[in-house]
Amino acid sequence: MSGYKDDSDEEMNVNQIEKDNEVLLDRKSHVQMTKTNGRLQVQIVTPGELIVKNASNALCGHGTFRDDQDQLLSSVCGIVERVNKLISVRPLRARYPGEVGDVVVGRITEITGKRWKVDIQARQDAVMLLSSVNLPGGVQRRKTNEDQLNMRSVFAENDLIVAEVHSRPNRDGSLQLQTRSSRYGKLENGVFVRVYAALVKRCTQHFHTFDFGVQVILGNNGYIWITKKTPVDENKQKSMPFYTSADADKNEAEVIEGKDRENICRVRNAILALQSQFLPIYPATILDVIEMSKGMESKEMTLPDITPLITKNATARIQKKMEEEDMEVVEGGY
C-alpha cells in the first residue's frame, strides 16, 4: 500500500469508521473490502463520507470530490474502488455509466436525421448512426438518402435492440452504438426485464443459452432480454444477420408455447428475485435460483416470502466467492 502514503509518510487514513476492521484490497476487482467478525463485506460509503484524509497524492475518480482541507469524500452511495492512486466510488443504483465494447440492450426512442436515439438506462440516450447498422439482408454498401428515409423500417420507435457500445464521441458523455455484427440487431418474441445496471456482472459472454432452451442477453446496462433459443441455422447465420423490422415482417414470428414459455417466465422471475435481494445477476446465480425453485409454480417465485428462500443458494455462492477471492489475495503475499 506504499503508493498511498502522503508527504508526511503517514498511512493514509482509510475511512475512519471502518478503521478497527482489517482493510483488504481485492486485487481482481479493485474493490475495497473490510472484514467484520470474520465475514467479508464490501465497503459501502454514503455521499459526503470521508474516504481518504490526506489526499494530495490520490487521484480523484468518479463519484468522489476533494474538499478545501484536501480530503477525499464520496459524492454517491456505492462501493469504493481503487486502482493505484485513482480512487473512485461505483454507485449501485445509478444509471449505466457506459464502457466501450459493452453489450447493451436498448429501446429506440426517436429517429432524427441519420441517427436513432436509444434508451440504454444511461444519463443520456445513446445514438446509433445509420452507417453503423447492417441493412436488411446484410448488404454492405454506402447508405443512400433513400436508406435514410427508410430508417423506420429497420428499427422503429419503441423497438428493442441489442448492440455494442462503439465509442464515446462527445464530451457530453453520450454513447455511440453499433449493430454491425450478426449477433446484434432487433429483438423479437421475448420478454424484457429491467434491473440495476450495477447488478449485471461483467462476463466474457453476455449472450447465454441455458440447456433448457432459453437464451438470455444480459445487457451491461441492466436491460435484459429473455427469449427461446433459436435453432442455429449455419447458412442463415452467415448470410443474414439479426432481424430488422423489415425482416421480421417477412418471417412471421413463431408463437412460443407450453414448456418454453414457462421456462422463460421462470428465468424472468429468477432475475427479479435476484434483484430484490440485491445479488449479482449472471448465468450461475440465475441457475441457482431456478434450481431452488423447482417444484413450485413459476408465479410463486414472485411472492415476497418466497424470494429470500429461493435465492439462498445464490447468496451462499456470492459469499463463498468473496471469501475465495480474499484467500487469493492473502496468498498473493499480503
Binding site: R107, T109, A156, N158, D159, L160, K186, L187, E188, N189, G190, V191, F192, A248, A253, V255, I256, E257, G258, R261, E262, I264, C265, R266, R268, N269, S276, E297, S298, K299, E300, M301, T302, L303, P304
Partner: protein
C-alpha cells in the same frame, strides 16, 4: 414512461391466449397484496395497499363537520380525491395526471356514493344544518398497473380503520345548536363498512380478459371494465374504459359473472386481513415505507 415494442406486445398477448402470463400467472390470478392500516396519525383512518411490492397506494380519511348537501339534507357527505403523485411516474407531472385523477376519483365516488354502501344517514348531525363530511384522499405512490383495484381495496381498508369522534348536540336557549366534540381519543364510533364494495378490473386483451393487469399488460389491453362488488355479490358500480375495442353485450354479461366470483373471494381475503390488522398493535410499528 414505460414503452413497449410491437413484438413484446405480441408476446404478452400470446401468453395471455395460452393462459401463461409473463410473470407466470394465469389469466384470473391476482398478485399477492398487502394491507396496512392506521399509518397516518393525522387522519381519522388510513390504509396503504401494495400489489406485489409494485403498485403502491396510500389512502387517508378525514372526517370534519360541515354543511350537508342541500339535495340530501339528512345525510353525511363524501368527498373523494385521487392524486397520482409525480414521484410515481414522470408522466404524472403537471397536468399529466389530470385525466387519471379524474377517472380514478369518479370510479371511487361512484362506488361509495350510494345509499347502501355506508350508512350516510348516520353521519347527519343536525338535518339541513350540520353533518360529517368524509374526505377520502388517495395518493398513488408507485404505479405498476391496476391502480383501480388497489385504490378500492385501500379505500375500503381506510374507511374500516376510520374512527369518528363522538359528539354531543345541544340546543341552546336561542334555538341554535351547539356541538361538542369529545376530546377523549378512545371515545369514537366506527363507520359501517361491511357493505363497502371493492372493485375487480378486467382487462380485455385480444379475445380474452385478465384480472390485475401489470403496467405492460395495460399497454396491450383494448378495453377495461372495472366492476365493484360488495359482500352480498351485488354490483355497485361499473366503469368501462379503453378506446380501442367495444364489448359484445353477451360477453359483457360473462365478464360481470367472472368479476363477481373473483370479487367475493377477494373480499373474504381482505376481511380476514383487516381483522388481523385491527388486532395487531400498531403503535409499535416503525418505518412505514417498507
Amino acid at each position: 414512461m414505460i414503452k413497449i415494442s410491437p413484438s413484446e406486445k405480441q408476446f404478452l398477448i400470446d401468453g395471455i391466449k395460452q393462459n401463461m402470463r409473463t410473470d407466470g400467472r394465469s389469466r384470473l390470478d391476482y398478485r399477492a397484496f398487502t394491507v396496512e392500516t392506521g399509518l397516518v396519525a393525522q387522519t381519522n383512518g388510513s390504509a396503504r395497499v401494495k400489489l406485489a411490492n409494485n403498485t403502491d397506494v396510500l389512502v387517508g380519511v378525514k372526517v370534519e363537520i360541515g354543511d350537508p348537501d342541500p339535495d340530501f339534507p339528512d345525510q353525511g357527505r363524501l368527498e373523494v380525491r385521487v392524486e397520482c403523485s409525480p414521484s410515481a411516474s414522470p408522466e404524472f407531472e403537471g397536468r399529466g395526471a389530470e385525466e387519471m385523477n379524474a377517472i380514478l376519483s369518479a370510479m371511487l365516488r361512484n362506488m361509495l356514493q350510494n345509499a347502501r354502501t355506508v350508512d350516510w344517514a348516520s353521519l347527519c348531525i343536525s338535518p339541513g344544518k350540520q353533518c360529517w363530511i368524509v374526505y377520502v384522499d388517495c395518493l398513488v405512490l408507485d404505479s405498476a398497473g391496476n391502480l383501480f383495484d388497489a385504490l378500492s381495496i385501500a379505500t375500503k381498508s381506510a374507511l374500516f380503520n376510520t374512527k369518528v369522534p363522538k359528539i354531543e348536540v345541544m340546543e341552546t336557549s336561542s334555538g341554535q345548536t351547539e356541538i361538542e366534540v369529545s376530546d377523549d381519543p378512545s371515545d369514537f364510533t366506527r363507520l359501517s363498512t361491511a357493505s363497502i364494495p371493492i372493485s375487480v378490473t378486467l382487462a380485455k386483451v385480444g379475445s380474452r380478459y385478465i384480472v390485475d393487469p401489470t403496467i405492460e399488460e395495460e399497454l396491450c389491453m383494448e378495453s377495461r371494465v372495472t366492476i365493484a362488488i360488495n359482500s352480498k355479490g351485488n354490483i355497485c358500480s361499473i366503469q368501462k374504459g379503453g378506446v380501442s375495442s367495444g364489448i359484445n353485450p353477451s360477453e359483457f354479461n360473462k365478464m360481470l359473472q367472472h368479476a363477481r366470483k373473483i370479487g367475493l373471494v377477494l373480499l373474504k381475503e381482505l376481511d380476514a386481513l383487516l381483522d388481523k390488522e385491527e388486532n395487531n398493535d400498531t403503535s409499535t410499528k416503525i418505518g412505514f415505507a417498507r
